[in-house]
């Protein structure tokens, strides 16, 4: 049983070579002038987390190669900066997940590039200024480049930047276990005629972008650095949004993401899992992401009127359907069970007829994101008094959820293992027992209409099941019968004649006979109990 991991040790292997070719009048060894490092010497530069070595395996007129090798101290890295945990023990998970990643391979390399080859990066060459103005035939090789997004993204990022050849070969995880597939590393070789400074500036930006390490420390002036290093090539790059987002997204993550999840990280590791596996619920739903491009669930009103009706995302259609059903039911106090990042809560908040909105989710992180998106802390009192976000679990009964007009379970049930579904049914229909319950879930029959979805795949990595229309209707009818609700199922989105709508919505209403019976019950209670409970208390007098 292993917990924790040698994340830091990945750092032991940071290596890059820059080669060029030359002629007698343009000797390849000019590379030494450009890099400001003498080809006849091995030089070492001490950095805060290890030593950077620059040396030349070959240095002739015809061919010159500079190698940059980082000797990282993994033990020192993990131990540095670790706070004392409770009980005097260092907080291992903190060390592993916050403090090691700042030094992840690509950022170390980027830092080394910018410090060891500072003038080259800036396009300056004090001894031979003219050299810096001239493109060189370059070959850059990085044998283990962490690339989230794989070889394909590597091509997309380096392809438009003037290289004659971009070669990115995935590194297999372990050739003894071919079933494990490829690692996140690629063996990268870039060849082409470029200014050395341009090549280095590309690497400086794109290596961390490809790494995309989540807990990466980025200094506050990182925007400026990006602008400087990206000058002249980034703005026109077709992937400039990806690059910018990934580069700058790392800023937020350290404080806002990592700390809130350490407890979860430890539980994931206790099971030999990666946090990503636990976190996938927060990924965007596939159909939310692609609804705009795919077979269009179009709005009813838009048909024909607009020459090119803009497709409405399914998530929006779903929210509209839910809002409509809630209004029709006259609900004022509403539970959004499994509220996720709070999109529906936000929509409910915009309609003042919803006087109390409670968003419930089991993921603390989802609630944090929701609160941030809604700017809950800065919201005026009148508005914020209508909304609450609380952690809860639908596999437990919860007294706080009793007494509401309506509960919404939008794209929630399919995130629960089927054997746990009865617990949810009881908690919602049996214990919380709102007058109206809305349940939406994907219609698996419709999946064939998503072009991007491979056959047999569910729409979201965390979906434990997806139902056909028949399966959903059967479930809804059974639950309704068991708990005294009436139910009807409605389509959401384009109701395909063959496979039905992308989303199905069940509207449960507490059976009216029961409400009628309530009144009758009050009169009947006295008789059936044998007497009324109004006898005067006599505890103190009894002998």
């Amino acid at each position: 049983m292993v917990a924790g991991g040698p994340g830091a040790h990945i750092l032991g292997h940071v290596f890059l070579t820059i080669s060029t070719t030359g002629t007698p009048d343009r000797p390849a060894t000019d590379l030494g002038f450009l890099l400001h490092k003498h080809p006849g010497k091995a030089q070492s530069f001490s950095t805060s987390h290890g030593t950077a070595h620059v040396l030349y395996p070959e240095a002739t007129e015809q061919r010159c190669t500079a190698a940059l090798l980082l000797e990282v101290d993994p033990v020192g890295l993990v131990r540095r900066g670790q706070g004392k945990g409770r009980g005097g023990a260092p907080d291992g998970a903190l060390a592993q997940y916050v403090n090691d990643r700042p030094y992840a391979a690509s950022s170390l390399l980027a830092v080394a590039l910018s410090s060891v080859f500072r003038s080259a990066l800036q396009g300056r060459c004090a001894a031979r200024p003219e050299l810096a103005e001239r493109p060189l035939p370059l070959r850059i090789e990085i044998p283990a480049l962490p690339a989230r997004g794989g070889a394909e993204l590597v091509h997309r990022l380096f392809g438009p930047l003037g290289w004659a050849s971009v070669e990115a070969v995935p590194v297999p995880l372990d050739e003894q276990f071919p079933e494990w597939g490829d690692s996140r590393y690629v063996h990268l070789v870039l060849e082409g005629e470029l200014l050395l400074a341009d090549a280095l500036r590309q690497l400086y930006v794109l290596l961390p972008v490809l790494d995309d390490a989540k807990h990466y420390w980025v200094a506050p002036d990182e925007v400026d650095k990006l602008l400087r290093a990206g000058d002249g090539w980034l703005a026109a790059h077709p992937e400039h949004r990806t690059i910018t987002e990934r580069y700058l997204a790392r800023r937020r993550s350290l404080t806002e993401d990592a700390f809130g999840r350490l407890e979860l990280v430890r539980l994931a590791e206790a099971d030999g899992r990666d946090l990503e596996e636990l976190d996938k619920e927060l990924d965007e739903e596939l159909d939310d992401a692609v609804a705009g491009e795919e077979p269009t669930p179009s709005t009813e009103a838009g048909a024909g009127a607009d020459p090119a009706p803009r497709p409405v995302p399914l998530a929006v259609l779903r929210r509209e359907a839910i809002l409509g059903a809630l209004r029709a039911a006259g609900a004022q106090r509403v539970l959004d069970l499994g509220c996720g990042q709070g999109q529906l809560v936000q929509a409910l908040l915009k309609d003042v007829s919803f006087t109390e909105i409670v968003g419930v989710d089991v993921s603390v992180r989802a609630l944090t994101v929701a609160a941030r998106r809604m700017r809950l802390e800065r919201m005026g009192e009148r508005q914020s008094s209508r909304v609450r976000l609380v952690q809860g679990s639908l596999t437990y009964t919860d007294k706080r959820l009793a007494g509401y007009d309506a509960a919404v379970l939008s794209e929630v049930i399919e995130h629960l293992d089927l054997p746990r579904l009865p617990a949810l049914e009881y908690a919602v229909f049996g214990a919380a027992r709102p007058r109206t319950v809305l349940v939406t879930t994907p219609n698996v029959e419709y999946n064939v209409r998503w072009e991007t979805l491979p056959a047999g795949h569910v729409r979201h990595g965390d979906h434990r099941f997806e139902w056909t229309r028949e399966e959903f209707r059967t479930w809804a009818t059974e639950v309704a019968g068991r708990y005294g609700y009436d139910v009807r199922v409605e389509p959401v989105g384009d109701d395909d004649p063959e496979v039905g709508p992308p989303t199905q919505l069940a509207v449960f209403q507490l059976a009216t006979t029961e409400t009628a019976a309530t009144a009758a019950a009050e009169t009947a209670t006295a008789a059936t109990n044998g007497t009324t409970a109004t006898d005067s208390p006599k505890e103190g007098d009894a002998a």
Binding site: M1, G5, P6, G12, D271, L416, E539, A542
Partner: protein, 862 residues
């Protein structure tokens, strides 16, 4: 005569005050309330309005702060009453509105309001105020107004709701009066039984006699001095209510029984007191039967019923008996609604298809420590729900009559002789709250919690850890009914200090058996067992004999058990695979004869599932294999480059040599993790190595010595080998005498051999499994001693380099050890609760806490 009268008047007034009540002092300013309160009550029991005024306004006499001051006073009083503490309110309380609020407060907390009035002459009040500098300026008319209001109030105090009113007139009476605390009538905590609690009788005299005889009573007396406790509904519907009353009244009179009233007694009492009640639900039969009795008996019945107390708290507070059930906040309380709940239970206000009121399943919400035994709702069979049990098994409807022996918790019943009364509707399947598998409530686990354990006292869980556990438990775990245990984390042995160890080559170690043996020896453990540590994933297996056993014992429909990870996830995504593992295990258990040996239908096993690569794919691929992949990709090129540079005559300062060593370390790292990985196909290649049998029906086996344990498990493995499934794997072991140098050497050699062959290492456990050290502290149930090569996976490829090892030896084990002990105690607690048949939420509480603690910050490499 006159003198006598005088003496009588002067005689000390005794003021009875119920030990849990809200005492309201009433009197004009200066009447001496504070002095009286100081004299008769503890300072903390008294809340004065003056003091509260001071709290909110810095001035005890600032009348403008009165509203806020009384808010504070009511708040504090409410907190005290909720906690069950006598509370005295020291304020003038001469206005009915002020008293009304206090009476409402008392009722909200179901305690008796008691008034003590100090009726002092105006002169006395004025004189006393004059002596107080802060009240010197108080106008005389204030006192006069207070006294006027007081006099107007005096006659109506009882009507206002005060259950006792003591009026003290004049200085002398006030000064000599004595307050005497009285116990509540329902407080019989001093009675410890043993008890036989009898369910609803409903006039079934013959069955009652049979049941009492079966319980061992002879003519209403138990030879061993046991006490019968009747949960009420003695009368109505059945053939002989007078006979039942005669028996029970006789036993109560002679001290052989206690009785609480049922709703049927209550109605009969109203009838006997001349009230107009409907003769429905079997009252007609009782009235007719009583008509044949003499008046004296009927009068006795009336007095008996009038004297019944709604519920009893017994046996040091561990047992509560009442007719229709009682939530914890009502235990030992005294109010109309407590009595009403005790008699009728809670109803939702709805009626069912038979026109009967729908009873609210109060037991489902019950989380109290005291066991509540009740009747009222006829069920075919009794069942424990959240520490409550309903004993009404419908004798009068042709069911049976049931008694519960306490503290034995044994059920004793006799069948009904016939259907005496046709039920309006069929008996409910289970007691209220028993349907849908007794759902767990968020309040069982959410937020900051303290779990009481038998072996380590209170263990607390922080809110953030509970939050993380809730997420994992809700999204990924198996059904909690099938997860009665989670394994605790284990601390490694103390860090090895010396450079050379073990007689083998000149190798430095981070972990070595020497420290483990020495530690246990220091703790007074003579014999330890070293068990081979299998490198796979921890797996707990709940195995039931068949689907029926799973349904009956764990309330699940379908699965015959579960196989889950240390965080409660199902081990296999496909339930069919789980069932196949269970089937193979079941065959082995049957063949080994363990079902019969333990007289059980289920058992709980702790073990390791192999290979590691089966489950730990995330970390393995993301981290371990990735390290190997990167190194294999980098080193060839890097070494070539360095060699080429050196060939050019460049001095690399030993860099090449260092990189060679690093490459070798990286290869050793890859070898280390590869040993624990192999490909599997379905269950082919999957192995399970059980190392502890945790529990069977009625019994936790966690404290059974490990040699006994391993002998059981060997039988399982042998049985599996005979069956040829290839699933089970034996755990290698050697017993070491910690005081014997030869034995210690043998243990060390065994470990060296094991780890040299690629083994992960071993776990050293006290042979007697459970115990305390010389200081009386709970012993670590085991410490792990991991192999030198294996630790590369944990500490990185290059950890064995001297400069790295030196730094790594600074490891802080204290928190890990404490965590291991706390989780161990929680695990034991879960097993004890499971064995005792405690309700699901009690078992789950401890299991959940283990998971929560697993998310505490601790060095993950330990």
């Amino acid at each position: 005569m006159n003198d006598d009268r005088k003496n009588d008047d002067r005689k000390q007034r005794v003021l009875p005050v119920t030990d849990l009540s809200l005492v309201v002092l009433v009197g004009a300013t200066g009447s001496g309330k504070s002095t009286f309160a100081r004299k008769h009550f503890k300072p903390t029991e008294v809340i004065s309005s003056d003091y509260c005024r001071g709290l909110v306004a810095d001035d005890e006499n600032d009348q403008s702060a009165s509203k806020d001051a009384f808010d504070v006073l009511h708040y504090i009083a409410g907190k005290r009453l909720a906690a069950g503490r006598l509370t005295v309110v020291d304020a003038t309380n001469v206005q009915s509105e002020a008293r009304r609020q206090l009476i409402r407060l008392a009722r909200e907390h179901d305690v008796l309001p008691i008034a003590i009035v100090l009726d002092m002459p105006e002169e006395v009040c004025a004189a006393r105020n004059a002596q107080r500098p802060d009240r010197q300026d108080m106008p005389r008319h204030v006192i006069q107004r207070h006294r006027r209001e007081l006099r107007r109030s005096l006659r109506g105090l009882e009507r206002e709701g005060f259950r006792k009113v003591h009026v003290l007139r004049g200085v002398e009476e006030a000064e000599t009066a004595e307050v005497v605390l009285e116990k509540r009538f329902n407080d019989l905590r001093h009675l410890t039984g043993p008890f036989d609690i009898v369910g609803d009788v409903h006039g079934c005299s013959s069955e009652l006699e049979a049941l009492l005889a079966k319980l061992g009573y002879r003519d209403g007396v138990h030879p061993e001095g046991r006490t019968a406790v009747f949960v009420g509904d003695l009368v109505d519907r059945g053939p002989d209510s007078p006979g039942v009353l005669r028996r029970v009244m006789g036993m109560v009179k002679t001290g052989n029984a206690l009785c609480v009233p049922g709703n049927h007694e209550n109605k009969l009492g109203r009838y006997l007191n001349g009230r107009n009640v409907q003769h429905t639900h079997g009252l007609a039969e009782t009235v007719e039967q009583l008509g044949r009795e003499d008046e004296e008996f009927v009068a006795e019945v009336r007095a008996f019923i009038d004297g019944l107390v709604s519920h009893y708290v017994l046996d040091g507070g561990k047992l509560v008996v009442c007719h229709a059930g009682l939530p914890e906040r009502y235990h030992g309380r005294t109010s109309g609604r407590v009595r009403s709940h005790a008699l009728y239970g809670d109803t939702t206000g709805e009626t069912d298809e038979f026109g009967l009121p729908v009873r609210y399943p109060w037991a489902e919400d019950y989380r109290g420590k005291a066991v509540v035994v009740y009747g009222h709702t006829p069920v075919p069979d009794t069942s424990w729900i959240n520490n409550t049990i309903c004993l009404d098994t419908g004798a009068v409807f042709g069911g049976k009559m049931t008694a519960l022996r306490w503290p034995e918790r044994e059920l004793v019943d006799v069948p009904a002789e016939q259907v005496w009364y046709e039920p309006v509707k069929p008996l409910a399947g289970q007691a209220p709250g028993g349907h849908e598998g007794r759902p767990l409530d968020l309040a069982d686990v959410h937020g900051r919690r303290v779990v009481e354990t038998r072996h380590l006292g209170a263990v607390s869980v922080r809110e953030e850890n509970a939050a993380a556990a809730l997420e994992v438990m809700s999204r990924f775990a198996v059904d909690p009914r099938l997860m009665p245990y989670l394994p605790p984390t284990m601390a490694p042995t103390a860090t090895s200090k010396e450079g050379t160890r073990g007689g083998a080559a000149d190798l430095p170690y981070l972990e070595h058996p020497a420290e483990a043996f020495a530690q246990y020896r220091a703790d007074g453990v003579e014999r330890v067992v070293c068990e081979e540590k299998h490198m796979g994933s921890r797996a707990v297996v709940l195995l039931c004999k068949d689907a029926d056993a799973a349904r009956e014992r764990f309330g699940v429909d379908g699965p015959t058990g579960s196989v889950y990870t240390r965080t409660g996830r199902p081990f296999f995504d496909d339930p069919a695979v789980t069932e196949e593992v269970l089937r193979r295990l079941r065959t082995a258990v049957t063949d080994a004869g363990l079902w019969e040996e333990f007289a059980t239908d289920w058992l709980l096993l702790d073990g390791e599932l192999l290979p590691w690569s089966l489950k730990a794919t995330g970390l393995l691929r993301q981290q371990y294999a990735a390290v190997g992949a990167a190194s294999r990709s980098v080193f060839p090129g890097a070494l070539d480059a360095l060699r080429a540079a050196e060939d050019r005559g460049i001095d690399t300062g030993g860099l090449l040599e260092r990189q060679r060593e690093r490459a070798a370390d990286a290869a050793a790292f890859t070898d280390a993790y590869r040993r624990y990985c192999w490909s599997t196909d379905g269950l082919d290649g999957v192995r399970f190595a059980p190392f502890q049998l945790l529990a069977v029906e009625g019994r936790s086996l966690a404290a059974v010595p490990h040699d006994t344990q391993l002998a059981w498990l060997d039988r399982l493995v042998e049985a599996d080998e005979r069956a040829g499934t290839g699933l089970l794997r034996r755990t290698g072991r050697i017993v070491v005498d910690t005081a014997d140098a030869d034995s210690v050497r043998a243990g060390t050699d065994w470990w060296l051999e094991l780890t040299a062959a690629g083994g992960e290492g071993m776990v050293v456990k006290p042979l007697h499994a459970y115990g305390t050290d010389r200081g009386g502290r709970l012993l670590q149930p085991g410490v792990k001693v991991r192999g030198r090569e294996y630790l590369r996976i944990i500490y990185g490829p290059e950890y064995t380099r001297p400069e790295n090892l030196e730094r790594l030896r600074v490891r802080h084990l204290g928190h890990k050890r404490s965590l291991a002990l706390r989780e161990y105690a929680l695990g034991l607690e879960a097993l004890d609760r499971l064995a005792a048949g405690e309700p699901l939420w009690r078992v789950h509480e401890a299991v959940f806490a283990v998971l929560a603690l697993e998310s505490e910050p601790v060095d993950p490499r330990l």
